[in-house]
C-alpha cells in the first residue's frame, strides 16, 4: 500500500428556496397546495406561539423555556415529510414541529409552567421534551431498531438536536450504532451557530457537521435550514432511504436562533447585533411566504386572515391554559413506578400530612399568600 490516499469522501449540500423567495425548479418538491399551506401555517403557529410565550414569561406567567424563533423551517419541514407511523424524537427547541405533530399548545404552556401534565400528549409516536443534550439520539436509534424488528413498513424515527449536541458522546454513540445496525433513523441537527454562548468554531474543528457522517458510514447532507422546502426534501429522501433499508442519514440544518437561548439568557453578552440582523434577513417564514405568494397560493388578504386565525388559536390556548385547575399535589407518587410499594406509600402519607400542615399554617398565618386555586399550583 506504500503511501496512498484513502477517499475521496463526500457529503451533499442542498438549498431550494433562495432568501428572496425564488427557487430552483429542478429541485422543487412535488407538494400540493394544501401541504404547502399546512407547512406554512405550522411555521406561523410556532412563531406566534413562541412570541406569545415570551411575553407570558416576561410577565411572570410562565417559567423558563427555549424560544424557537428562526428554527421553524428546520423542524417543520421534516415533519411535513413524516407520517404518524414515524416517530418524532425531539429535543427542546421544536415547538412548531410539536404542534404540527398534534401536541397542544395548551399542554406546552402547562409544561413550561412546571407541570408534567403538559407532557400528556395526544400526538402519536412523539416523545416529550428532552433536555439532556444529545441523549435523545440514542433513544431514536433504539426506537428505529424496534420498528425494524417488528417489521413495520414505511416507518422511521426522526430525531432532533443542536450543533452543540454533536459534541456529546451520546451523539457519537448514536450515529455509530445507527451505522452498524443500519436502522431507519434520520438525525436532524439544527446548526444554529451557537450553543448558548459557544460559537460553532469552539464546538468542533470540522468544517461542516454533515461530514461527521463519514465517520459512521451513514449518509450526510448539509441543508439550508431556513429553507422549508429543502428541509422537507432532504427529510423525504432520508426517510425513503430509511424505509428501503438503506439506513441512517445525518441532516445538518444550517439555521439561526434569532433570539435568546432560553428566557434566562442574554445573547448580547456574546454576539453582535449585526450577526443577528444578517440572519433575520434570511427569515424562514418570510421566504416561505414569498414562495407561496409567487405560486399564487397565498395573497395578502389570505395571509392576514391566516395570521389572525393563528393568533386566535394561540389566545384560545393561553386562556385554556390559564383556566386549568386540578393538580393534585401527590401525583409524583403515582409515577415513580408502575407498581405500588409500601415504602413509597408510606412517604406519600408523610407528604400529604405535610401538605396539610402547610395549608393550615397558610390559612392561619398568611391568608391570601398563595393563589387559592389549587394546592400545587404555585
Amino acid at each position: 500500500m506504500p503511501r496512498k490516499e484513502i477517499g475521496p469522501f463526500f457529503v451533499t449540500s442542498l438549498q431550494i428556496l433562495e432568501p428572496d423567495g425564488s427557487w430552483d425548479e429542478t429541485l422543487e418538491p412535488d407538494l400540493s397546495g394544501d401541504q404547502l399551506l399546512r407547512l406554512y401555517r405550522s411555521m406561523l403557529l410556532g412563531r406566534q406561539a413562541d412570541q406569545r410565550m415570551l411575553k407570558l414569561q416576561r410577565q411572570g406567567r410562565l417559567g423558563t423555556f427555549a424560544p424557537s424563533t428562526g428554527h421553524e423551517a428546520a423542524h417543520c419541514g421534516p415533519v411535513l415529510a413524516m407520517t404518524e407511523r414515524d416517530w418524532f424524537v425531539g429535543a427542546y427547541r421544536e415547538l412548531g414541529a410539536r404542534l404540527m405533530r398534534g401536541e397542544s399548545l395548551e399542554n406546552a404552556l402547562l409544561l413550561y409552567n412546571g407541570f408534567e401534565e403538559g407532557n400528556r400528549s395526544e400526538a402519536p409516536n412523539t416523545t416529550p421534551v428532552s433536555i439532556i443534550v444529545g441523549a435523545q439520539y440514542l433513544h431514536a436509534v433504539g426506537i428505529a431498531y424496534a420498528m425494524r424488528y417488528r417489521g413495520e413498513k414505511n416507518a422511521a424515527a426522526v430525531v432532533f438536536g443542536g450543533d452543540g449536541s454533536t459534541s456529546e458522546g451520546d451523539f457519537h454513540e448514536a450515529l455509530n450504532f445507527a451505522g452498524v445496525w443500519k436502522v431507519p433513523v434520520v438525525f436532524v441537527v439544527q446548526n444554529n451557530q451557537w450553543a448558548i454562548s459557544v460559537p460553532l468554531r469552539l464546538q468542533t474543528a470540522s468544517d461542516t457537521l454533515a461530514q461527521k457522517a463519514i465517520a459512521y458510514g451513514i449518509g450526510g447532507i448539509q441543508v439550508d435550514g431556513n429553507d422549508a422546502l429543502a428541509m422537507y426534501q432532504a427529510t423525504r429522501e432520508a426517510l425513503d432511504r430509511a424505509y428501503s433499508g438503506e439506513g441512517a442519514t445525518l441532516i445538518e440544518a444550517v439555521t439561526y436562533r434569532t433570539t435568546m437561548h432560553t428566557t434566562a439568557d442574554d445573547p448580547t453578552r456574546y454576539r453582535s447585533q449585526e450577526e443577528v440582523a444578517q440572519w433575520e434577513a434570511r427569515d424562514p417564514l418570510v421566504r416561505m411566504r414569498r414562495y407561496l405568494e409567487t405560486k399564487g397560493l397565498l395573497d395578502d388578504q389570505q395571509a392576514q386572515a391566516l395570521d389572525e386565525a393563528v393568533q386566535a388559536e394561540v389566545e384560545r390556548a393561553v386562556q385554556a391554559f390559564e383556566a386549568r385547575t386540578g393538580f393534585p399535589p401527590d401525583v409524583p407518587f403515582d409515577h415513580v413506578f408502575g407498581t405500588r410499594h409500601a415504602e413509597i406509600e408510606e412517604q406519600r402519607a408523610l407528604f400529604l400530612e405535610s401538605v396539610r400542615w402547610e395549608q393550615i399554617a397558610r390559612e392561619h398565618d398568611e391568608p391570601g399568600d398563595l393563589a387559592p386555586r389549587e394546592v400545587g399550583h404555585a
Binding site: V89, G142, Y149
Partner: protein, 326 residues
Amino acid sequence: MPKMNLVSAVNLALDQEMAQDDSVVVLGQDVGVNGGVFRATVDLYQKYGRQRAIDTPLAESGILGTSIGMALAGLRPVCEMQFSGFSYLMAGQLEGHASRYRQRSMSAFSVPLVIRMPYGGGVRALEHHSESREATYAHFPGTKVVIPSGPRNARALLVASIRDPDPVVFMEPTRNYRAFKEEVPLEEEVLPLGKAQVVQEGTELTLISWGAMLRPSLAAAEQVYQRRGASIEVIDLLTIAPLDSDTLADSVRKTGRCVVVQEAPRGFSVSSEIIARLNEKVFLYLEAPVKRVTHFDVVTPYFGREQLFLPTPLRIARALEETLDF
C-alpha cells in the same frame, strides 16, 4: 429439579422469557456469538438469532440509550453492562431518562428494561471489576435495584425484573456465578420485587445481607450458634430499592439487635439507609447499636489485598458476638 449455578440460572431465565415473549431481546458487549464473558447469555444467539441477542458496539451509554428507545417502542430489552465497574458511563441515561420517563410523561410512556451487571469482589480480577456500588443506583428515584444471592432466587427475580414495567438494575454477584449449585425448577418461578426474605428464623439478633454476603453471613450465624447457641434471624434483602423496611423492622422488633453485612464501602451506602430506617421504625426496640460489617471507605484495592477488605465469616461472627454482648 436440575441443579445449576447462578450463571446458568440467569441463562435459564433469559432463555425462557425470550421463548415466550418475542419482545424480549438481550444486548450488550459480547452477549451474542460469545455468549457473554461469563456465559450468561450462551446459546441465545444460536436460538434466537442476531436480532434478539445483539452484539453491540463498545459503548455503555449507547447500550442503555438504545435500550430505552427499544422499551419506548414496546420491546423489553435486557441489556448487559459487561462489568458494573463500567456502568457509570450509562449513569446519565439511567438517571436522566430510564428512571424518569414514567414521571415525565405521567405514565404515558414507561421504560420496562433490565440492566444486568456482574458486581463484587473475591474473584481476583483486574481494577474496576470488583466493586459493589448498589447504593449509587438505589439513590436514583424511579430505579429498582435487585441483587440475587443464589441460583434459584436469581432466576425467579430476573423473570420478575424482565416482566416489571420499570427499569431494574439487576446486579449479579460475580463471586457466586459458579461457586455453588442449587436446584432450580424448570417450571415458571417468580419472586416479587420489593420483598426481602427471612432465610433463617431466629429470636436474638437480625442479620441482614444480600448478594455474595449471604453465604459468609450464614456461616457466621452458624459459628455463633455453635459457640453459644445464639438464635440468629438471617434476612436476604433481594431488592435493594425500593427497600422492604417492613420486613427488616418486623424482625428487629422481635430480636432487638441487628447486624448488617455488605461488600460495599461503608459511607453513604445501603447499610446506612437500613440503619436509618430501623432508627425510624423500631428505635425503642433496639437494645444495641446496629453494627455493620462492610468494605472500607478506601479506593477498592487490587486483588492482592482484596480478601483483607471483604467481610469474612470471622469478621461477621465477631460483630454478631459484640452485638449480642452489648
